[in-house]
Symmetry: C2
Amino acid sequence: MADKRKRRRSELNPEDEAQLPFKNKLKADSFILQILKELSDSSAVSSSSSSKTLDDLGLSSSCREVTDLSLSSVQATIESVILKIARSILSGNGFAFDVPSRSAANQLYVPELDRIVLKDKTALRPYANISTVRKSTITTRILQLVHQLCIKNIHVTKRDLFYTDVKLFQDQTQSDSVLDDVSCILGCTRSSLNVIAAEKGVVVGRLIFSDNGDMIDCTKMGMGGKAIPPNIDRVGDMQSDALFILLVEKDAAYIRLAEDRFYNRFPCIIVTAKGQPDVATRLFLRKMKMELKLPVLALVDSDPYGLKILSVYGCGSKNMSYDSANLTTPDIKWLGIRPSDLDKYKIPEQCRLPMTEQDIKTGKDLLEEDFVKKNPGWVEELTLMVKTKQKAEIQALSSFGFQYLSEVYLPLKLQQKDWL
Amino acid sequence: MADKRKRRRSELNPEDEAQLPFKNKLKADSFILQILKELSDSSAVSSSSSSKTLDDLGLSSSCREVTDLSLSSVQATIESVILKIARSILSGNGFAFDVPSRSAANQLYVPELDRIVLKDKTALRPYANISTVRKSTITTRILQLVHQLCIKNIHVTKRDLFYTDVKLFQDQTQSDSVLDDVSCILGCTRSSLNVIAAEKGVVVGRLIFSDNGDMIDCTKMGMGGKAIPPNIDRVGDMQSDALFILLVEKDAAYIRLAEDRFYNRFPCIIVTAKGQPDVATRLFLRKMKMELKLPVLALVDSDPYGLKILSVYGCGSKNMSYDSANLTTPDIKWLGIRPSDLDKYKIPEQCRLPMTEQDIKTGKDLLEEDFVKKNPGWVEELTLMVKTKQKAEIQALSSFGFQYLSEVYLPLKLQQKDWL
């Protein structure tokens, strides 16, 4: 019976070992584990030495950054802002907020830090001016609401915040935008304000951490994994015996790796935001990187958006540049799927997709970005993508069998240290 | 100091107890818990008695339903389908699949079952016909791929399946559609085929279950909760001391209830699919309802889509009607936000939104649906909504303070048995 089953498999199954490209190049797991140990060790060294700050670069007076503040500090800072305003009113000078500008012209990419930061331009937002009276009123109201959150020690979403005063805010973009202003005014991160975004990410693998006081063991989360908590301030006590963090763009690849328990064969932590990175997942990834000092390898689609997603994790997004120091994870390696992999791994022509005009334009725009330029390997790959006008999803590897990703492609990539 | 803090709160805080509508109507929790116990007991009785089948209704010959099959049964069924075809070819009759029709004309709402089912019309899909040769080839290929999944005992996504033969399938809608056909041909659920959808839902509260062999305690999942596993067949051993299941439409309300640990005050299990219900969450909800025999109370937006989402959980969606018996959860109660709540709870005018033309049309269409008609309470509410042309999100309750939902609205609803 066992024989029959085996024979039948080899007749029907197009995923035969012999036919799987490069499977014969794979060395023993112990060899690959040795490579991962070296990577992990070097990451621990570089993490502890290379974390430069704006101060080190002499930029702290010309650039603005926010930090995590405790709830009581946020409360005290709000109170002092309001007291200052009260004094200004009493001395006959009226009332105005001094608000850091978040416009594109006030943004700067700092290569030494490898992220986008906010410069120091500010704008006055006086109450006694027809063009700013609404915005200064909204600012005051948001400060008051955040003050309440501090006192109650609860978290709310941006949507909740909007609904507390629809008459004033009118639409949510207005309260959202002023919320970012308030972060800049107080000099604290948005998560310090206890205003959170909806959670989207999941994590599975060799990680233990506490979520709101409960200890979570991510090796015991089955196939579904653990939902990443929306409030990073209640996450702590991270422990891990992983050698690296595998950052995955999409759900489908995550599910494959979780079911195959890839993290047992190669000790790692697998994390995904299921597409566009949300704030909670970005904070969680950074916290893992910082506390565990592990290298981060990224598995994204081979298209301009894959690289863009990688860059948001790595360097930040422009609309939250004031918070880039807390949201970004330095030194993420681009493991795959890279444009050069398409030929190298013989991805069949019909599994590649032609890039649209928009794709090509996005790719060319990315080539102009500083954070791409500073990495020659990335420039080379992106140039190849724009030239061949071909893209491919991670799932394209399924053309060699459903488990090609976890059983051949990823192990081989690791064995060959094939990251950039 | 404590005094000062207290005083300061009552000065600044617009959420003062006295101002909160209906807070004074709330009775002690013990009173509400008694009501929940009665609800839970009656649900346990009705769950075990009222589960009628097509057979009971004399419809089993004119309607078609699929069941959960074990992997080895799926494998054996595929083999017998293929053998039958081989015999047909050898006897000179060529080869054709007999495929159940999934068109709208072949759908039926059965009031006794309170769900949509598929009637018994089938269509021949011959290979030797120019109009069906592609589809019959795709069907054969999907059968072969599913056969492989059975042998390997792994799960893949629909996207993976598509990528195994892009040349043949051309685009994913084609492989997806034939996958549903294959479920009908084999008479098994899509989850029996080991083809899964991306996970989206989360669960938190008084539930313990096993996910792929790991025991998960959902009271110890912090604020993030547990991601609902994509493959229900590896979920088991459900235990709970909850009195009801709270089904929440959106993430923001879920986060509020999870942070406030609402399930500790009123023992319950809180679950959300974060918007449109996905297959994994629907299967998970049904499994909880069936195994734990708990009542399900739904908290959705007061708009036509809220009711539509409720109906998908309850009665199924048309494009998967063949699987409605396994995907639907009977007897879900509409707790809120109901159109009559807007006035009853004095939701401020500016937190209500005018319905668009499209909203009103969707509302009117729903009024024609059998599953709405059979519930007079629902008809009344929906008629009110269409008449007032007003809608409101769950978050509109935040206008009375961030915790109004968990501290006043929901407890009062439960106390008044205010569900339909």
